[in-house]
């Protein structure tokens, strides 16, 4: 067995040491295609070695460089800053808001929690705002076009040939046989959610404030997608490894069902595994493998693994928010994203730090949802424009 493998390795090495072979994989001219096809005809034993050697040489990249994440963001900020400074360009202001991480405003606290009726002049108002996207509709950007999805029922489907359709609409948005490496991007603003089927049959649910980039077709040796925000994925089985890229880490999927949350303004980013097996790769660290019902929390201190009840993390997909001793600030952030509303609370940080456990049904009706929230947190609420004020009862 070893001798066979040795022979195979020798053949592979022979091929990759041949300048003509390397040149062929680089330029793929007709002349060289014919030459090597002929070579295989005369030496059929080399067929496997040729495939393996081809894969090796094909994975070479010339001059490939990536701008590191920190510099990427800083550079974008510089561009946004310059655009902002141009007079009368109101769009530049929106550009900077949508580009940077969500704004989480915590006013400085001067007063303390007072139980009587006369308000303490120094108690500061605490605000929780959410990512504000200029658009209220889900956007599908593909093939040089921008398509807005207005109705809640619309879902995006990519078929095996890379054709993109939106259910509920009769038109095909992007034709089959897309250009090689064609990408599509879905942007889900606050207050909306979406789901889509990829060309391999994998199903992805997108939570509010999420951007997902996928290839129209998985032509390469891997299936790779990029996400910012939160998704729940059911990955179709397949021989090509499925990899999810996020700004801070990659998730390599060996099995099927998981939830990734990588919101910029959340303290922790995480991956929760429901079924199957995934591993997280973080730059400069060892890969971390997850079993079902485990969470990997990615923070400044590194990756922490814990056993959890997955329902707490994936309920959003079905409109249910389950929280277990979660601080009110986190609960309101999640609700804020889901409905695209901001919260204001008059009690200072003490209220926001209180922890609650429970289940919220995120129905379309904000009032019924808020009455559950006030019941759980013992507060009163009032809706003014698109901000909800929480007050002492």
């Amino acid at each position: 067995m070893d001798k066979l493998r040795q022979k195979e390795n020798d053949r592979i090495r022979e091929l990759i040491s041949d300048d003509l072979f390397v040149e062929w994989r680089l330029v793929r001219s007709e002349e060289l295609n014919a030459y090597w096809a002929d070579f295989i005809r005369r030496n059929p034993g080399y067929s496997d070695a040729l495939d393996a050697a081809s894969r090796m040489v094909d994975s070479v990249r010339i001059n490939e460089r990536h701008v590191p994440p920190g510099i990427r963001i800083a550079l974008y900020e510089k561009i946004a800053g310059r655009l902002r400074r141009r007079r009368f360009d109101m769009y530049a202001a929106i550009l900077s808001v949508s580009a940077t991480a969500a704004i989480l405003v915590m006013a400085a606290i001067f007063g303390k929690f007072v139980l009587n009726d006369t308000p303490d002049k120094n108690v500061a108002v605490q605000e929780i705002t959410t990512d504000r996207y200029a658009n209220e509709n889900i956007l599908l950007i593909t093939d040089g076009k921008v398509v807005e999805l207005e109705n809640v029922e619309e879902a995006i489907t990519i078929d095996a040939e890379g054709a993109i359709a939106v259910t509920g609409k009769d038109d095909i948005i992007a034709l089959p046989e897309p250009a090689k490496d064609a990408l599509s991007r879905i942007v889900v603003p606050a207050g909306r959610r979406s789901s889509m089927t990829l060309s391999d049959g994998s199903k992805i649910w997108l939570n509010s404030c999420t951007e997902l980039t996928v290839p129209n077709r998985f032509d390469g040796r891997t299936r790779e997608i990029t996400v910012r925000g939160e998704i729940y994925a059911e990955v179709a089985p397949g021989s090509k490894p499925f990899i999810v890229h996020t700004p801070d880490f990659n998730v390599v999927v060996h099995g099927t069902v998981f939830n990734i949350s990588v919101y910029e303004n959340d303290g922790e980013k995480f991956v929760v595994l429901v079924e199957g097996s995934v591993s997280l790769n973080i730059a400069g660290g060892k890969p971390v493998r997850l079993e079902p019902n485990q969470i990997a929390l990615v923070g400044d201190a590194g990756i922490e693994k814990r056993n959890v009840d997955v329902n707490e993390y994936i309920g959003w997909k079905d409109g249910i928010l389950i929280f277990n001793k979660a601080p009110l600030s986190l609960i309101l952030t999640k609700i804020g994203r889901y409905y695209n509303i901001a919260f204001e609370a008059e009690d200072g940080p003490e209220l926001m730090r209180r922890r609650y456990s429970g289940k919220l049904f995120l129905t379309g009706n904000i009032d019924s949802m808020m009455s559950s929230v006030s019941a759980i947190t013992s507060t009163r609420y009032a809706i003014r424009q698109d901000t909800i004020h929480l007050m002492k009862p």
């Binding site: 010339i62 701008v67 949508s98 490496d181």
Partner: protein, 187 residues
């Protein structure tokens, strides 16, 4: 087939970040080939994106964004070189384009990968600077002759001929080595 609704006159702001994310690495990879410092390259890229994003009309109208951006970057790098001697140590007309080979996602490369890397680099170094640039644009950036022509400021026909000549030069390099190997065998 009816075209779906497209809101082209109110391009969402997120398109800027989409375009930026999509093409930043391509621009960086291409720009660094000219032997400039990382800072100078990123400055030039900043200028290119700023110019593009300043005009929303332009962004909506340009058909081939990648080619446009690469072309802008090349021009910008050359403009900077013309006006300040600091970026390039050689005079402007002999600006070199260099290439190196590598493998993505690997910290340590195998023996086989080392061999391939050396071979690819040797093949590319057997070419002139201009030929290297053309081969890079054709086979790494996967551009067609029209696109290469726009970026390098030549005709598509000239682009095609130069690609052909580059392949010939690589072949000469390959065969020269084969001849030496052959001679060595008989010594």
């Amino acid at each position: 087939m009816e075209k779906p609704q497209v809101s082209n006159n109110k391009l969402p702001e997120c398109t800027f970040s989409f375009v930026y994310e999509q093409y930043l690495d391509d621009l960086y990879s291409y720009g660094m080939g000219f032997g400039v410092s990382e800072d100078d390259c990123l400055d030039a890229i900043q200028d290119v994106f700023y110019k593009l994003f300043s005009s929303r009309k332009k962004l909506a109208e340009i058909e081939n964004l990648k080619t446009y951006l690469l072309c802008c970057l090349r021009n910008r790098l050359f403009d900077i070189a013309r006006h300040s001697g600091r970026m390039f140590t050689l005079p402007v007309d002999s600006i070199v384009f260099n290439t190196d080979a590598g493998f993505t996602d690997t910290l340590v490369i195998s023996e086989e990968q080392k061999i391939i890397k050396e071979k690819v680099e040797a093949l590319m170094n057997s070419l002139s600077s201009r030929q290297r640039e053309i081969i890079y644009l054709r086979y790494m950036q996967k551009l067609d002759y029209d696109e290469i022509a726009r970026i390098m400021n030549i005709t598509p026909e000239s682009a095609r001929k130069q690609v052909y000549r580059s392949i010939l030069a690589m072949r000469k390099h390959a065969c020269k080595k084969a001849v030496f190997a052959f001679l060595f065998h008989f010594m």
